[in-house]
Each structure stands twice: as structure tokens, then as C-alpha cells.
Symmetry: D2
Subunit: 338 residues, 4 copies
Amino acid sequence: MLVIMQQGAGQATIDHVVERIEQLGLRVHLSQGEFRTIIGAIGEELASYQEQVLSLAGVENVVPIMKPYKLASREFHPEDSQVDVGGVKIGRGQCVVIAGPCAVEDREGCAAVAQSVKEAGATMLRGGAFKPRTSPYAFQGMGEEGLKILRECSDRYGLPVVTEVTDPRNVELVCRYADMLQIGARNMQNFVLLSEVGKTDKPVLLKRGPSNTVKDWLMSAEYILSEGNQRVVLCERGSKGFETEVRFSLDVGAVVVARHNSHLPVIVDPSHAAGRRELVAELAIAGLAAGADGLIVEVHDCPEKARCDGAQSLTASMFTDLMGQVRQLLACLGKDAG
Amino acid sequence: MLVIMQQGAGQATIDHVVERIEQLGLRVHLSQGEFRTIIGAIGEELASYQEQVLSLAGVENVVPIMKPYKLASREFHPEDSQVDVGGVKIGRGQCVVIAGPCAVEDREGCAAVAQSVKEAGATMLRGGAFKPRTSPYAFQGMGEEGLKILRECSDRYGLPVVTEVTDPRNVELVCRYADMLQIGARNMQNFVLLSEVGKTDKPVLLKRGPSNTVKDWLMSAEYILSEGNQRVVLCERGSKGFETEVRFSLDVGAVVVARHNSHLPVIVDPSHAAGRRELVAELAIAGLAAGADGLIVEVHDCPEKARCDGAQSLTASMFTDLMGQVRQLLACLGKDAG
Amino acid sequence: MLVIMQQGAGQATIDHVVERIEQLGLRVHLSQGEFRTIIGAIGEELASYQEQVLSLAGVENVVPIMKPYKLASREFHPEDSQVDVGGVKIGRGQCVVIAGPCAVEDREGCAAVAQSVKEAGATMLRGGAFKPRTSPYAFQGMGEEGLKILRECSDRYGLPVVTEVTDPRNVELVCRYADMLQIGARNMQNFVLLSEVGKTDKPVLLKRGPSNTVKDWLMSAEYILSEGNQRVVLCERGSKGFETEVRFSLDVGAVVVARHNSHLPVIVDPSHAAGRRELVAELAIAGLAAGADGLIVEVHDCPEKARCDGAQSLTASMFTDLMGQVRQLLACLGKDAG
Amino acid sequence: MLVIMQQGAGQATIDHVVERIEQLGLRVHLSQGEFRTIIGAIGEELASYQEQVLSLAGVENVVPIMKPYKLASREFHPEDSQVDVGGVKIGRGQCVVIAGPCAVEDREGCAAVAQSVKEAGATMLRGGAFKPRTSPYAFQGMGEEGLKILRECSDRYGLPVVTEVTDPRNVELVCRYADMLQIGARNMQNFVLLSEVGKTDKPVLLKRGPSNTVKDWLMSAEYILSEGNQRVVLCERGSKGFETEVRFSLDVGAVVVARHNSHLPVIVDPSHAAGRRELVAELAIAGLAAGADGLIVEVHDCPEKARCDGAQSLTASMFTDLMGQVRQLLACLGKDAG
């Protein structure tokens, strides 16, 4: 890291900073300009070092040189990773389309959606059994009963299933039924939960928090990877932005940056970004064109009766149309549907 | 709620929407303008109703009329609430100053800080034993050992103590040692954790998430209140903003709006907003002037050796100066230190 | 517009609001619910009405029903517009690729870039002669001399040219040389300048401000349209976002929403969004896939000697590669390069 | 500046960067770590140097060391500046309260407001004659007729007057009538206008743009200062934030940072931040407590008839109450009303 001293910092102050940096086990490289002194601290950059140096008297700023994540970085792992979920491959030229209802509401509805998305060409199923809701008075999901339904539909239609886990005490339960665990955007920095899913052998879909940087996102991936679970897929679902006519602003730049800086596969969720079903298809296509390795899309057999997110759920027929566009685009990009 | 139909929505479409609204148990009040039809839906506004209506064909927008929180609202409870933490009162003209280290690092350091903040006039102690850190490689706190140290320091100096809980499985443990539970900003929408602390009888300090609205914040308070725990204190600690020279933008507007819309006490955390100790005092004073019912401030006996947040920790002497300004301002505002 | 009265607003208060609304020439439609009274105000919604009603005692909120822009709206003009710039068509299935240096720096460099982008397949030339720079000490552009060079290069290579105008006093001057006038992002709400270009007969490229909504953007377009100039092309160039590794966050959602709500063509500027040339191509492709009617891209013959924006300028060879991808994607989308 | 090379950059690449930096007239200080090479470039940091170096092959990032503004910086001018506007002093312990209508609408109304704010203790008058409005269909101000009314009211009540200028062609006209020129938030980066007011001898009130950093703001001040006009007062009026119940988020952190980094006086505009008159007073007090050198507040004799911003305009009686609080706070802070 580079330590930028305040203008006018005296020799004693500089000496003290140098001494402290050396105590951290780093080598020092001093550069005294006309106006400022810059201290290069050479060696491993532990997360805590930057904070400690920043708190020293006379230090104006500390500039980290190395990325704070390792296992998630492309420098560590130059090749694209590919994650296999029950035989469906994600990444390294293989694109996945995950589709299904926002929440599981009953057996028949879930099966109807699973069948229709299978027919349209989806390769994985999604559905929520534990729903994190802003309001304590909103439908919170069916719990284990919902997991059972998802498992049944998954088996029946041959679609590996991803579902959200929100409570570290439920990780084991969800693992019994799901093929892939989802960490929702609001839990992206729930580090307790990240560690817990990192201890499982299930692939994890890690959504980006709506106001987090790519660096934050990859640090959260690092929590999972550093527990030993290497099967992480990132999912961009929109940032909080200025625009009021979309629910969130799908950040294609985040997709591009994540793929440059990390080897992990990245998919996009156009449904939560759009907030309205009329906008979903265009965002989905833009996300794939930006280089995403797949989509996760909400589809409902009767959106107007959905207990959550009905407004952004595609009908089966809209989803079929979208799949047509997806296939055409993937062919143009030289990629395969997973 | 008001349902705004799309321009050109035909009679059959309107009839279908009316029918669905009536099925939800609401009365309908129709208003057909020159360009648009507006449907007023009268009755209780459950969280899910808005979503369901929004998903109907022909509906352009749904405008909620009622606030989605109840127990947290000033309409429900017009008087200011006051929360008692081990004899220290917060709210209704009583201001609290909570001070202490970011994280508990050892017995001596914690005691030294507790003694000095007590002498300077703080009325509560803060300190972290479970630290949510962006990096899995950063110091994660001392755990139960840290809780024991906090309890000792609290008893020895007569300062009730608040400490963060990050894991629903640890709530009971933390309750054994702490006088008040803190929900950190990153966990503001960790609904599982909110429900869990709502089931305890401990007062809760609920920090605002860095990109959440006051409505989101009060909905999170509602999770706690609706479980039966009425002792919630809100804490503003800064929003993600455009400014790079502060860590977060202390949002005095959020303090003002929260106090208008809710009866719950609101305090501010100038340390996390500032990110640098030179800026803490001015933000603290601004927060109190905006109407906050207290402060929570990071103080360290030797900030440059702090294992986290050293750069934003005040020295004992800076904290003493701040307390002088605080007393003067509270006298001017006609408020008491808690 | 809908006027939502505060809870508990008395009859006299309501009567006064009704009276004021009628004085504005609007008809009133009253809806008294259990908790609130809602007043529908039917008739033309002038911009000032909403503000005036909002300021009345007892009014909690005013919800506009109609969009505040007319000439720019798709309701007013359901078909896609197409803008012709010196024979190059933009919109209604015709995509344009505008390329060139950030700033004109000398005759030879500009000509070299013009030649290479022409050969690669660009259909219009870009280049700045008046540069709005954050610093008063930065290169401000060559002024009229730069305009002459652009005109020459435009004529020589058969590429109609767009260039920025920043000063209402220079509009006439720029019109003498340019085929299209650019309003930069920082001037999106420079209403004086918008009115001035609205009085010319030149097509206008209107960039979106980095923290403006689509509504703001279309209101700025309305300034130009309402002066009589119908030849407006919108340009998305990125929002201020949380991500630090891109300069701005290219907002594909804004492209989609603008195209839904307006008939005006929309292009994207991936160069300013990316900030680094390695990211430009992926953002360009994502923007086109989201439905944009073209691109504006910075290209430099020797980026490392560029006097501005060198880091985000493509080399001629990178631009040639991008054009290959663009052609392939447009073919897949069934669109023509303009 | 510090130039951080990409990992694995070879010697030839490094040599080329060093050579280019030396061509810019800077001295080079090389630091080769285990993983990266850092090049310190010592000497004057012109704005364009950073861009040019960033565009070189092998360069990962460039970190500026020096602030890009000079005349506006506290390093250049360590003492607080004080600006005199027709005998009213702003800064260096002197606080100003500027009050008046959003827009001048007629002679009687303006005079009534001027009289009442004078009686309540305001020391300057505000009022708009040229209004930058989002909608081309909204009231755009009375123009020169409005300026004449402001001049009369200013003279009659002994209140120096500030009014906005939006067009470089009108600067001279506005100077004939006003004591201070206001640059509105939307024009903060209208560099043409900044240069023009920098050439006058009138004090300038420079509002912060709603999504600009303090650095941007001070760069805009630098435009004025570098033209020779040293009488600049900064004004914070709120950032675009997440909160929907205020119009903008008053950024007290920006006030604190601006006062740390610059010698220029800083005032706050709580009216535009609040958007609703009930919130104005608390934000005003918070702003002063954060260290602001004054306030600019909208007051209207009959807010509900105001042609703009009525909802956020205080009544005369609310303003009188606010002045009582202001006097009490300034006494507590040891400052004078200007």
C-alpha cells in the first residue's frame, strides 16, 4: 500500500509512521517529493493494515495496491470458472436460464410454471420458500412445505432448483432439498450466513446488494470461497439508482467489471431490476450481451394472483418469446445454452 | 390505495380490476377523468394488495395512501417514546451519549476507555465482540470473551452497555451480557435477526442501512415491535453518497423525517459517517441540532493501535472536548443529557 | 392529479383545497375514505398546478397522473421518430455509429481518426472544439479553429459531424460548421442553451445528465421540441453510481424506459461510461442489445497522447474489432447500420 | 501523482511510462515491489497529466497527490475568508441570514416579504427573476422587471440582494441590479457562466450541484477565482439521495469537508433540501451547527399562491420563529449574525 503523508508532516512524524509499518512486517520505500512524502509499504496487505496506518498521526490517505480478495480474483485464477449444478453448467461459454415463480405458493401452480418453463427451454428452476420481505405483515413463504414442492417439481421436470436461504439455522434444511443455495441481495453482507453456506458442498448463487461495489461483492464471494466452497455464481440484479420507472438499475458495468476482475460466472436477474414485466426482456438481452453467463427470470402461471412480485413476473407466453430472443443472441455470441 | 389505469384502458379491463379489488375485501370508488380512470380502493392496505393490483392488466401504477408501518408510526403513537436502558433514559427530551471502542480488544484497553468516557460524561458504553467485517481475513471480534469484558467494564463504571449481535443463534448469548442489542447497518434488513431480537426483552439499537429510506428503516423497526419488543431506538450512521472525503453522508434529513413519522427515539453515529476523527465533532453537533436524542461515538485509548476503525476513533481528550460542546448545545436546546 | 389530504384534515380545510383547485380551472372529484380524503383534480395539468396545490394547508401529497412532457411522449407520437443527419438516418430500425476523438487537437490527427473510423464502418464523425472541463486549468478545446478542422474532415470522408456547443452565444457559430449539435451531460439542464438550440434547424444530440431521471431528460428534450426543433436524438452516457471501477454506470434501464415513454431515437455512449478502453466494447454491445439506435464512441490515433479522455479512447484497431461485433449483433437484431 | 503499474508489466512497458512522465517535465521515483511497480511522478500536477498517464499501456491506475484546486484551497489560504456584500459580512465568525421569495411575482408581494424578513432579523434579501425550471411550460420569472422590483425592495429595507443569473448574456444586466450573483445548483458546472461571473466584481453565491463532490464544487469555485473574482460564497442545498420524503438530502458532511479543505465561507439552503416547510427549521439549525456561515431561506407572504416552491416556503411567522432559534444557536456557538 501507499501511504500519503499530510503536507508539512515533520521528520519525527514520518519516522513514527515508518516504524509502525515496519512493525507490521512490511518493507518501507520512502519517496520525498517537493510537497509531500509518500511511503510505499511493501509486502502482504492484510485488511487490517490499511486501517491501522490510516489512524496514525500525519497520514492523509492510504492507497491499497492489491485487491483485498484473492480466491475470487482473476489474478489468482486466470481461467473462467465453470459451476456445475446438477449437470447444468454455468460459465466458460455455457449460459444458464433459470426460471420460475418468485415464491412457491402451492403444488399445482409451481408444477404448471415448471412445466411451461421447461418446455420453453429453461434449464433450471427457481422459487422461494423463505422470502425476505420488507414488511413483517407480508407473505413470508411456505417454508419446508415449499421446499418439498420445489424438490418434486425439480425432479419431475428435470430442472435443478435454486432457492433462497435466509437463516443460518436453516442452511442444513435447505440443502436437503435444493440443488443450489441463493443468497439474496439484502443478505449479501450477512457474513454469518455467507460463512455457513461456505461450509456446505452446494453451489451458491450470490446476488449483488443494491448499493454495493463489485469489490464488496467479490469480498462476499471470498467469505464463501475461503470456507472451502468453490462453487459460487454471481448474480447482478440492479442497483439503487435515480430512475423511478424501474425498480432497480441493472448495472451492466458491474457485470463487465466482475468478469474482468474475477473468474466466477456472472448471471443477471432482469426481473428484480425491471419491476415491470414489459421491461424484462430488453434488460435480459442487454445483460447477456454484456457478457453474462445466464439469466434468472420470474415466471408465473397467473401473475395477477401471485403473492409477491406479480407485476414483474412474465407469463409463460412472454417467457417463450424471451427464450426465442435468447437463443438467437447466444448463437450470435457463439455461446451455448447450459 | 389509488389505482391509476393506463390511458385507453377499456371498460372490460377496468371492470376486471374493480372485481379483483373487491375480492380483496376493499370498497371501490371510481373516478373517470378525460384521460384516465382512477380507482380508489378503500379499506385496510395489506402489503400484498398493492403488488397484486399492480400486476393486473391495464394498471399503470398503484399509489399507497397509508404508511406500511403501524406500531412504529406517530399516527399510532403520537407522543415521543422514551426507552430506558439500565436506568439511562433515551428520548422525550433526554439525550444519551454512548461511547467506547469499535471492538473490544483486551480487558485493559476496554477498561481504560470506559473510565475515560465515564469521566468525560458519557452515560453508556459501546464495544463490539462480534464484528461484521467486509473481509473474511479481518479481525472478527473476541466473541464471548469480549462480552465478558464489556460486562465487567459496564458494571465497574456504571455504564449500561450496547453491543452488536449478528447471528440469530447468538441472541441469547449476547442477552446474557448486554444491556442493549445493536443491529448493525448491514443487518438492517436481516429480517430473521430482527424477529429474533424482537422476541427478547432487551432494548434494541437499530442502525439505518446506508442506502435505505426512512420507510424501510421503520419497516425494520416494525419487525421488532410486532414481535412484542417495544424498546427500539433508531440510529442514523450515514448514507452512501457522492462524497469521497467522508465515509458516509450523515443524513440529518433522515433524522428529521424519522422523528416526524415515528415516535421512536433517534440517535446519530457521527464516527461511521465521518470515517476520520477530525470530522466527528462537527457531525455530532449537527446531528443533535437536527433533533437527535443522543450520540454513539467511537473512542479509543490508542487509536493508532485499534484493530478496527482507528482512523475514526476519538482520543480521550478529543472526546472530552466534544462532551463540552454537547453539554453547551443541549443546554441551548433545553434538553438533558440522559 | 390526485390530492391526498392529511389524516384528520377537517371539512373547512378540504373545502378550501377544493375551492383553490376549481379556481385553477379543474374539475373536482371527491373520495372520502375511512382514513383519508382524496381529491381528484380533472383537467389539464400545468406544471405549476402541482406546486400550488402542494403548498395548501392540509395537503399531504400530490400525485401527478399525466406525464409533464408532451411533444417528447410516445402518447403524443406513437410511432418511432427517425432523425436524418446529413443523409444518415437514426431511429426506426436504423442504427448509427458515431466515432472520433474526444477533442480536436490538430488537423492531421483528426483526419487520421476520421479516415480510420470511416474505413471501419462508422457513419458519422464526432469531435469537441469547445470542451467543458472540470478544471479551469485543463485544455478547453481549439474553438473555431477546431470547428473548421471538423468540417474539413467531415467533407473529406463523407461523415456528417456532431460537436458540442456549451455557450448560447456560440450556437450560431457552431451551426455554421456542424451537422448536429451536442448538448453535453453537464448542460442537460442548462435551459437557456436548450432553448437556443431549439431555435435552430440543426439536429440535436441530448446527453442524459449523470444523476437525472428519464423524466428530467425528456423534459429537457421538451425544451428543444417546444421551440420548434423536432430533430432530437437522446444519448445515455452513464449515471453516477456506487461502482468505482467504471467512470459512470451505463444505465440500460434508462434506454429501455426512454424508448417506452418517448418516440425519440436513443443512442449510447459507452466511452464515458467505461472510463477505460478495455470495457468499452462490452458496454457498447449491451447498449445496442437494450434497444439503442446507435453508438457514439471515442477513438484516437494515439490515445496516449490525447489531451483529454485518452484512457477511454479506442485505438483504430480496437474500433475495427468493435464494428465487427456491432454488425453481427445488428444483423441478429434485424437492424441496419444507418 | 503515483502511477500504479499493472501486475506483470514488463521492463519495456515501465521504461516507456517513465519516459513519458519525464517528457511532461516531472521527476520520476521508482518503487518496485514484489507484485507491482509504482512510479512516483514529482512536480506540478497539471489536470491533463493524470489523464495522459492513465492512457499509457501497462498503467493500472493513477493516484493524484495534490488537490486539483489551488486558489480555493485552505493550503493556499489558511485563514477563513470573509465576503462583504453591501456591508453584510459572511464568514470568519459572521453568519448571514438571506431570506425572500423563490421568485419575484409582483411588487407588493415582494415588498411584503422583504419587510417581514427584515423585521424578523434577516440581513439579506433573495428572490429569483430568471428561474431555471425543469419544465418549459412553468413560470420562468419576470426577467428585468423582477430585477427592478428586487432593487427597490433591497434599497427600501436596507437588505443587500442576491439573485440568480442563468445566461452568460445576462450577467451584465443582473449586475446592474443585484448585490450578489447566484449560480444555481444545475449550473454549478456551467463553466461558461462561471467564467463570466468570475470577470465581474460582484460577490457570487455558488450552489453545490445535487450529485457533485466537494472537489467538483471547489473546482467550480476555482473557475470564478481564477478569473480574478475572489468573493465566492459556497452554498450547500442538498444531494440526490435515497430518501423520498425530502426533496434533497442536506449534506452536512459536505459543509464540514468544504470548510476543512477551503477558506471560502459556506452557507446552507434548507428550503430546497426540505421540499416541505415543516422540515426547514430543523435542517437550518443542523446546518448552522455543522459550521455553516449562514442560511438562505425561502419565505412567502402567501405560500399557497406562490408560483414556485410554495410548499417549501416559510410563512412570515414561521420565519420569525426560526430566527429566534438561529439567534439562540449562534449565541451558543459564539458567532454573530452578519
